[in-house]
Amino acid sequence: MEQLWARCNNCRRILYKQDIMDNMHVCPTCHFHFRLSAVERFFMLFDVGQFELFDEDISPVDVLQFKDQKKYSDRIKISQTKTGLNDAVLSAIGMMDGIRVIICAMEFAFMGGSMGSVVGEKVTRALERALKEKVPVIVISSSGGARMQEGILSLMQLMKTSQAIARLEKAGVPYISLCTDPTTGGTTASYAMLGDINIAEPDALIGFAGPRVIEQTIKQKLPKGFQRSEFLLEHGMLDDIVDRKKLRPYIIRVLRLFTNQPR
């Protein structure tokens, strides 16, 4: 049976699940932003019913025959069953307040939103479609970084996606990067930091190296709030932090400004 109650990861309060859902998956008490699935992002941002998915049939391949404690091919199957997705990103084109826009949303539940060949290919295709159709594009990151199980092929996706952004930039097509919890590693070191504007949800972990790796390297405890959205804003890495409830109107306003379409 579906559980009716959930505990907030932050304030630890027991909450009625429906209340969290009605509040866009934000804790009504402490304002903690729960992780969203890629599809939930689309429903939250696009005009009602105004989007269609594309590049749905691209699936990962275990090229390296990678096997740690589990086989990569098994990890793929488990994640596919769990999420109902082929890999860790969904692409869609649709309308936001009547403005045509492409959105790629990463799925953290699929192997930590890691970027392998499929994510790199789908994001690149979305960027190239945006270039071809002169449609603004938004990438919503939620990812631990490059997918180790695809080795160097994953690493090269950083270049593949970044060079597509370079072309968008030259053509004057707007690109918005939204960082959500967490956005780290190779994802941050490529498209997540390359937006015309980079915005984030509150208190999202955003960084290059993971906090554990940094702690082990410098052999010190990290200060509170380190690598959180507020920290990045303070250090000039973000244009703004936007509450989930204000996200849709905020992005629409940016799209109107960047495409010079006043209401």
Partner: protein, 318 residues
């Protein structure tokens, strides 16, 4: 007999012979040329027994060998009148990543490369070849300078990775790497990358992409270090060798994926055993690659560069 796991023990005989060669070279012995040649043949024979047995982790140990030639060694050997330029014009200078200009075959060329240190003190000064954002921003500044004057860019890659530190994060390590990738894709001069040792993840990639990627025979280029991978996926530092085997990060693997253009052969025993041969081999490949790129128009070159990375990735599509 159990297979020797540690490369540094495996190469003991080779190093002993190499020591004899070094001593002879210093000596006044009239027959030293002959004797050295004979010792080189001996190294070849030793190596013929070792090389086929090398595991991916042995490659890692060779790539990290403390005696391995570093960026500054290649610059000294192959570039004339090199001037190192400092600073990113934003926050500071990064000794882990060297950048400047020198003459290569009589032509001004930008050289950028990670530098590890040799002594303890030097290693600390160079931060073990792990750049901060300033390093990547300096590298880009020099690449832009090269573009302004129409000079080719050569990068030498040898880093465990971008430095995972507090200040590096504060000053935008990820942004610095991402921005380099974006800008390199548009750079209107040839860019040749050579992995001379460790190609450590994003820290290598930020100066490790261009028109042609070459790798030394015993170098590696990986999404993560075998240690990092073992810690995350196996949750066990003892699994480093398994991680190394799984990651498929050797030059021959990357050649197979179509990511790199050429494998530069190393002398028997590895680059550290015979610097002169290593310099010669690298020189030959670099010269060939640069003259191949010289014949392309800028637009041709930029399109091919884009297509090269555009094609990388393996997936299934129904």
């Amino acid at each position: 007999m159990e297979k020797e796991k540690d490369f540094y023990k495996l190469e003991k005989n080779v190093i002993e012979i190499k020591q004899k060669i070094d001593d002879l070279q210093e000596s006044e012995d009239p027959l030293k040329e002959d004797k050295i040649a004979r010792l080189r043949t001996k190294i070849e024979k030793e190596w013929a027994g070792i090389a086929p047995e090398l595991t991916p982790f042995h490659f890692v140990q060779i790539a990290r060998h403390p005696q391995r030639p570093y960026t500054l060694d290649y610059i000294d050997a192959l570039f004339e009148g090199f001037i190192e330029l400092h600073g990113d014009r934003r926050a500071g200078d990064d000794p882990a990543l060297i950048a400047g200009f020198g003459f290569y075959k009589g032509k001004t060329t930008a050289v950028i490369g990670h530098q590890k240190g040799r002594s303890t003190r030097n290693r600390l000064m160079r931060n073990f070849g792990q750049p901060n954002p300033e390093g990547y921003r300096k590298a880009l500044r020099i690449m832009k300078l090269a573009e302004k004057f129409g000079f080719p860019v050569v990068t030498l890659i040898d880093t465990p990775g971008a430095y995972p530190g507090i200040q590096a994060e504060e000053r935008g390590q990820a942004e610095a790497i991402a921005n380099n990738l974006k800008e390199i894709s548009l750079l209107r001069v040839p860019v040749v990358n050579i992995v001379i040792g460790e190609g450590g993840s994003g820290g290598a990639l930020a100066v490790g992409v261009g028109d042609a990627i070459l790798m030394l025979q015993y170098s590696f280029y990986s999404v993560i270090s075998p240690e990092g991978c073992a810690a995350i996926l196996w949750k066990d530092q003892g699994a480093v060798k398994q991680a190394a085997e799984n990651l498929k990060f050797l030059a021959k693997d990357l050649k197979g994926f179509g990511i790199i253009d050429e494998i530069i052969p190393e002398p028997p025993g590895g680059a550290h055993v015979d610097y002169e041969t290593m310099f010669k081999n690298l020189d030959k490949s670099l010269q060939k690659t640069l003259s191949r790129l010289k014949n392309k128009t800028v637009e041709e070159m930029l399109n091919e560069r884009y297509e090269k990375f555009r094609q990388i990735g393996i997936y299934e599509e129904k």
